[in-house]
Each structure stands twice: as structure tokens, then as C-alpha cells.
């Protein structure tokens, strides 16, 4: 039993943190927003160069074969900067699925290419237009298409960096890839979205802390007032108790059993609740500034709003936890127990 991260894992996360801190500041997003750009090609190139997009791919598909724990740390950093590029959905979910079905596929050969995924749990597909390929589902089977083989209808999201599409397609024009593991895709997406939620939450708190130290009212920094302190302390408590759930889910996801699924669902619910709570506290602490387009807090709120209801609503995930709770033995000695018969 050891709940700590290795030095190597922390170093990888540190690398991502530095890369994102330099290349994905609020100024960068604002320029992208003004230009209506979905991707920053230079940033994506450096992400790819650092290996972050290759972490979950097996070596046979040109990857570096790391674990979900490693990628969870990266997803957290991506959340901290509200990264516009689809690192999590492409490198964390879609590309590993494609690699499992067709490791030699051309879409995997180009490291800069992104892959989109139309999972049956989501009505819309993110970043379908810019993807090199889109994975689609029909009766459990996976199909691959290029964006020009389907009809894409853009659906504007409240989050300016989420590019959503309704996809109409015909299996006759798609490449069949056989039975795919849609459950694994869902679990990974839920886990990494939870990790992004932790990052979003911490950023929202950090922004508010910085502001509360500077902004003065009644002759004192607003951060010296208890009501302000308590909003942020409560958000931090939510983060502190979501983080170990997310890390445990990352460590357990590979078991593919009912316990692991419940843990992933738990992580998804609480990390995105923390993000919502933190973002709302951040807006409140910023006052009217917080309600303005100028201040960055709203971007973290909007990403949290989107991710909370994607890849399974809270009700969907709660039902998976309930299934574990009401059909498996419970109690303290069951925290890390595995019921392999339920795998």
C-alpha cells in the first residue's frame, strides 16, 4: 500500500506544467478567441514533441506506454490552464482505442494528428472538424471515418474552446474496425475529465486568492474578510477530498471491475463538483469583475459546466456507484478490495 507518486511521475507532471504555463496563458486564449481559432499549432507541436500525446499508446503504435496515473497528472495540468487543444479526448481516449483496434493505422502514424470519438454516451462530438479521423459506434462495433466522409453540424458551446458537432454518417462509407471497448473509453474519459476538473478548480481558487490579496475595500484587502476566506477555504476542502479519489481511480481503472468503475464515477462527480464550486466562488470573490468577460474566471466555470455533463451525467455516474454500493460487500476493509467475479 503506497499512495505516493514516483519522482518520475512528478517530473513528467512538472514538465507539462511548465510547458502549459509558458504557452497557454489567458493572453494566448484571448488571441485565439479573437481569431476564432480552435488550436494553437505551435503549442500542439510542443505538446507532441514532449511526448504528452503519446503516453497511453503502446510502443507498437509509436507510443511510450505509460499508465493512466501518469496521464491523469497531465490532464490535471491541462485543466489548470483550460487547455484548448483536445489532448485529453484524443491522446487519452480516442487514440488508445484506435491503437487497440488497428495499431498500424495511418492516423496514428502522424504524431500531430488528433482523433475524435463519437461515444454513444455523448450526443455531440468534440473537435470532429479538425480531427484526422473520427471513431464512431454502431452496435458495439467501431468505425473510422475522415471528417469529409460525414456530415458535421456545428453546435456552439458556452465554452468557446469546445467545438462540438452533430455527426451524421453512413456505415457504408466508413472503415469497420470490429468490436471495440466502449466501456474503457468511457472510463478513461470520465477519469481524465475528473483530473481536468481538479485543475480547473485549483486554478479558479488561485485566481481568486491573487485577486483577494490585491483588491481593497473598506481600506483593507478583501481577502482579509472572513466571508471571502470561507468561500475559498470551502472550495479548497472540496479539492483536497476529490484529489485522492481521482488518484485512486487512476490507479484502479485497469482492474475493469465494478469497484474500479464506481471509483471512476466517484472521481468524475466530485472533481467536477469541486470545479463548479471553486469557479462560482472565484466569480463571487471577483465581484462584478468576476462577471465580466475580462476576468478569466468564467472560462474555468464554462469548462466545468461542460465537462460535468459530458461522458456521463452525475446521475449516470451516481447509478454506477449505487450498483457497487448495493450489490457488493461494504465497509472499511472493502476500500481496496476487488470482486473479480464482477469484472
Amino acid at each position: 500500500m503506497d499512495f505516493t507518486l514516483s519522482d518520475e511521475q512528478m517530473m513528467f507532471a512538472e514538465t507539462a506544467r511548465t510547458l502549459f504555463a509558458d504557452s497557454c496563458t489567458p493572453d494566448h486564449w484571448r488571441k485565439m478567441m479573437e481569431a476564432g481559432a480552435a488550436h494553437d499549432d505551435a503549442r500542439w507541436a510542443s505538446i507532441v514533441e514532449t511526448g504528452l500525446s503519446l503516453m497511453l499508446l503502446p510502443e507498437s503504435a509509436g507510443g511510450i506506454d505509460l499508465s493512466e496515473i501518469d496521464f491523469t497528472l497531465i490532464a490535471q495540468e491541462a485543466g489548470y490552464v483550460a487547455l484548448p487543444e483536445p489532448l485529453v479526448e484524443s491522446a487519452g481516449v480516442a487514440a488508445p482505442m484506435l491503437a487497440a483496434l488497428a495499431p498500424g493505422h495511418a492516423a496514428l502514424a502522424d504524431p500531430l494528428a488528433t482523433i475524435a470519438i463519437a461515444h454513444p454516451i455523448n450526443p455531440f462530438v468534440a473537435n470532429a472538424d479538425s480531427a484526422a479521423a473520427i471513431l464512431l459506434e454502431k452496435e458495439g462495433e467501431a468505425y473510422l471515418v475522415t471528417p469529409d466522409q460525414v456530415t458535421l453540424t456545428a453546435q456552439a458551446s458556452i465554452d468557446p474552446f469546445r467545438r462540438l458537432f452533430r455527426v451524421e454518417w453512413d456505415a457504408a462509407n466508413a472503415t469497420p474496425l470490429g468490436k471495440a471497448d466502449w466501456d474503457l473509453a468511457l472510463d478513461r474519459a470520465a477519469l481524465f475529465n475528473a483530473a481536468m476538473g481538479l485543475g480547473l478548480a485549483q486554478r479558479a481558487v488561485d485566481l481568486a486568492v491573487d485577486y483577494a490579496k490585491e483588491r481593497q475595500q473598506f481600506g483593507k484587502p478583501i481577502g482579509s474578510y472572513q466571508a471571502v476566506k470561507h468561500h475559498l477555504a470551502s472550495a479548497q476542502v472540496a479539492i483536497e477530498f476529490a484529489r485522492p479519489v481521482v488518484m485512486a481511480a487512476a490507479a484502479e481503472i485497469g482492474h475493469r471491475d465494478m469497484q474500479a468503475r464506481a471509483r471512476v464515477s466517484h472521481a468524475k462527480i466530485v472533481a467536477l463538483e469541486a470545479a463548479d464550486k471553486a469557479a462560482r466562488a472565484s466569480i463571487q470573490v471577483h465581484g462584478a469583475m468576476g462577471y465580466s468577460w475580462e476576468v478569466d474566471a468564467h472560462l474555468f466555470l464554462k469548462r466545468a459546466l461542460a465537462l460535468s455533463r459530458n461522458w456521463g451525467t452525475p446521475a449516470f455516474h451516481r447509478a454506477r456507484i449505487a450498483q457497487r454500493l448495493f450489490t457488493q460487500p461494504n465497509g472499511p476493509e472493502q476500500t481496496f478490495a476487488r470482486e473479480s467475479k464482477n469484472a
Partner: protein, 384 residues
């Protein structure tokens, strides 16, 4: 990261389970705060625990412990709550003062106090609060004046849990003329020393769980001072770290309660409000999250980290989860919820008593408002 138990840890769990199954009293003991008999029955249980070498797992062997690590402690706690073993009447000593003594005490002090604490021979009360110094503990007025090799203690302490029946107390006293955090010392005194008067105060549930303590020229040897004179505040904050951070509330307590709540829901779901299922699931999630957080903290401490201000987040989390959990049980029970255990139709699990006790969680061990201040100022760096 490896979230599985080693074969040694599993063997340890099996050993603890077997011993507890053989030794946990079959009849529920009377509450230790209710009567002297209840208190003494719990003291006897501590002796039994000690006889099996299960009294204090994490302390060094030479001071009455077993020299085990925090993960083993957590496993033992899981088995302890699973077995429904009695509450620890000497928890102030073993979980709060003990670790502090191990860190700050001299060898002679450890030899004198720790083994008898571990065996339940001497049961300790915490005498920090005063009528004018609750949340603002730096406002303590009780005094200690050096007199040769001794200290003379004077003052008025209050809200001291279990002091009515306990043997010793550890208190905060100040050197006259000093102010606030400076000049406070942590000093031990026997509760039956000449000049000590202990008056019981009934808690909200009618038990004599609290006391106020009057000290009038109480003489104790300077040996009873932990750390240097004037270092009391610093040492108390270390104790409070143990209290909030880890030791006072091990996760198994809430996990067992959450499992009971799930069973209660399943027994009542045909008639109860369907919306309550979400609360039952939430209670389970909270108990699991607390356990994971504590396993994470234990792993970090074992890797050499120290408990910091994040300990304050634990206290808020467990106290709030406890209230939510018991409140959910009351909602499921409906009109039966208000019945006490004397009532013929009472539920076998005393949810109402648990709920009433849970309401104290946000108050003791430093109120949750104070914990939020600590988080904001020391974790987030907001100005005072």
C-alpha cells in the same frame, strides 16, 4: 502508487481480526461518559487490548507501543470498527498527547507517562479551553508560577471531556505577565491533586461528558512540563495537528456507519422518499473519499512528509460528512427517528444519538470557522 495490501499487511489484518473476534465484549458497554461504571468498563477493555498488545500500535515498543506504521494502524482501525469494539476512553492520551509526548518529551517523561497511558492505567483529559478562551486559545489566563522545582497552577478550565472520571489532565498555562501566544506552557496535573476541583457539566444528551476544572494553588513538579517554558503554544498546535489531521477520527468509523446506512436504506426503500438514495450514495462516497485522503496522508507521512495546515481540511470534511450521514439516516427512519434506545420500537442502531453527537463535530477540536480561517491564511496565503 500501489493500492493493494502486501501479504504482510493482509496477515496483520487477519491477526487483528482473529484477536478482536475473540476478545471484543459481546454485550455493549455502558457509555464511558454516562457513569463511573461505564467508564471503568472501558478502562478494563483498554487493559484487555494492552494484554493482547493492541493498545498503541504506532508508539515505540519501549513506551508501551508496538512500533508499527500508519498503514498498519489504519488496517487495525478498520478491523476495530468492523468488529464493533468499544470506543477508546483514553483517546485524548493515546491519540493526542501521546504522539506529542513522543515528539517533545524527554526520555524520563516518556517512560513515566506513556506506558500507563497505553494500558489505560492513567486516563487523560485535555484542559485547554477556558470560559474566556475557546476559539481564541491564545487568550488563556490560567497561570503557572515556578516555585523551586515545582510549578504552582491557578485558573479555571472548562469543557474538558471525560475529566469527571479521568486521572490526569494536560493543560495550557501562562507565566504571569506574558501575553497571547508567548509565555504559555503545557503542563500535566493529576485531577485528584490538592487544590483541583472538578465539576461535571452535562452534555446536550444528558451525559456528564464535560467538566469544568478549578485549580487553586495546585503544586506539580516541573517534570510535568512538556517542552520548554513558553513553548506551550507551539506544542499545542502540534497536538492539534494530530487531532485534526489523522488520529482523532480514523476513516473506518464513517465507513462502518455508511455501510449501516446503506443497509438501512435497503430495508426501507419501499416506503422511504426515493430521493434519499442519492444521499445514501453520497454518504458512501464521502466516507470513501475520507478514507482515501487519509491513506494518502499516511503514505506521505511514511515517506517523510509532515502534517501541515491541510490537516484543517480533514476536520471540516469528517465533521460535515458525519452530520450528513446521520441526518440521512433520520430521514429514512421517518417518525421512528426521534425514539431513544429505551423505546420499544427504536431502531437497533442509535442514529439519533449519533446525530446529536455529530452536531458537536464542527465545534470541538477547533470550530470549523476557525479551520476555514487556518486554510485561508496558512494554506492559501490570504491576509489576516
Amino acid at each position: 502508487m500501489d493500492l493493494t495490501y502486501t501479504p504482510e499487511q493482509q496477515a496483520f489484518r487477519a491477526e487483528a481480526r482473529a484477536w478482536l473476534e475473540a476478545h471484543v465484549p459481546t454485550a455493549t458497554l455502558e457509555h464511558f461518559d454516562a457513569t463511573r461504571e461505564g467508564f471503568e468498563a472501558h478502562r478494563a477493555w483498554e487493559k484487555t487490548l494492552k494484554s493482547g498488545d493492541w493498545g498503541m500500535l504506532t508508539w515505540p515498543v519501549e513506551y508501551g507501543g508496538r512500533g508499527l506504521d500508519l498503514i498498519q494502524w489504519l488496517i487495525f482501525e478498520e478491523e476495530y470498527y468492523r468488529a464493533g469494539a468499544p470506543g477508546r476512553v483514553n483517546q485524548n492520551g493515546i491519540f493526542l498527547l501521546g504522539p506529542t509526548l513522543i515528539e517533545y518529551g524527554t526520555h524520563a517523561q516518556k517512560q513515566r507517562f506513556l506506558p500507563s497511558m497505553a494500558s489505560g492505567k492513567e486516563i487523560w483529559a485535555q484542559a485547554w479551553s477556558e470560559p474566556q478562551a475557546g476559539s481564541d486559545l491564545a487568550g488563556v489566563r490560567a497561570t503557572c508560577v515556578a516555585d523551586g522545582e515545582d510549578y504552582i497552577l491557578n485558573g479555571h478550565k472548562i469543557w474538558s471531556s471525560r475529566a469527571v472520571f479521568a486521572d490526569w489532565a494536560f493543560g495550557l498555562f501562562r507565566t504571569p505577565g506574558t501575553e497571547r501566544h508567548k509565555g504559555m506552557s503545557l503542563i500535566f496535573f493529576p485531577l485528584d491533586a490538592p487544590g483541583v476541583t472538578v465539576n461535571a457539566i452535562k452534555k446536550i444528551n444528558g451525559h456528564v461528558g464535560f467538566a469544568e476544572i478549578f485549580l487553586e494553588n495546585v503544586r506539580v513538579p516541573a517534570f510535568n512540563r512538556l517542552g520548554d517554558e513558553g513553548q506551550g503554544w507551539h506544542i499545542c498546535m502540534a497536538t492539534a495537528g494530530f487531532e485534526r489531521g489523522l488520529m482523532l477520527r480514523s476513516p473506518a468509523r464513517y465507513q462502518v456507519a455508511a455501510a449501516k446506512l446503506a443497509a438501512l436504506w435497503q430495508a426501507h426503500k419501499e416506503t422511504a422518499d426515493p430521493a434519499l438514495e442519492a444521499d445514501v450514495v453520497r454518504a458512501h462516497m464521502n466516507a470513501e473519499a475520507y478514507a482515501l485522503n487519509i491513506y494518502q496522508t499516511a503514505s506521505r507521512l511514511m515517506a517523510g512528509a509532515k502534517i501541515g495546515p491541510e490537516a484543517s481540511t480533514n476536520k471540516i470534511f469528517w465533521s460535515e460528512l458525519d452530520i450528513h450521514l446521520t441526518q440521512t439516516a433520520l430521514s429514512i427512519l421517518g417518525p421512528v427517528a426521534e425514539l431513544t434506545q429505551d423505546a420499544p420500537d427504536a431502531n437497533p442502531v442509535d442514529w439519533i444519538d449519533d446525530h446529536i453527537f455529530a452536531l458537536a463535530g464542527p465545534i470541538y477540536a477547533g470550530s470549523n470557522e476557525i479551520q476555514r480561517n487556518i486554510i485561508a491564511e496558512r494554506m492559501l496565503g490570504l491576509p489576516r
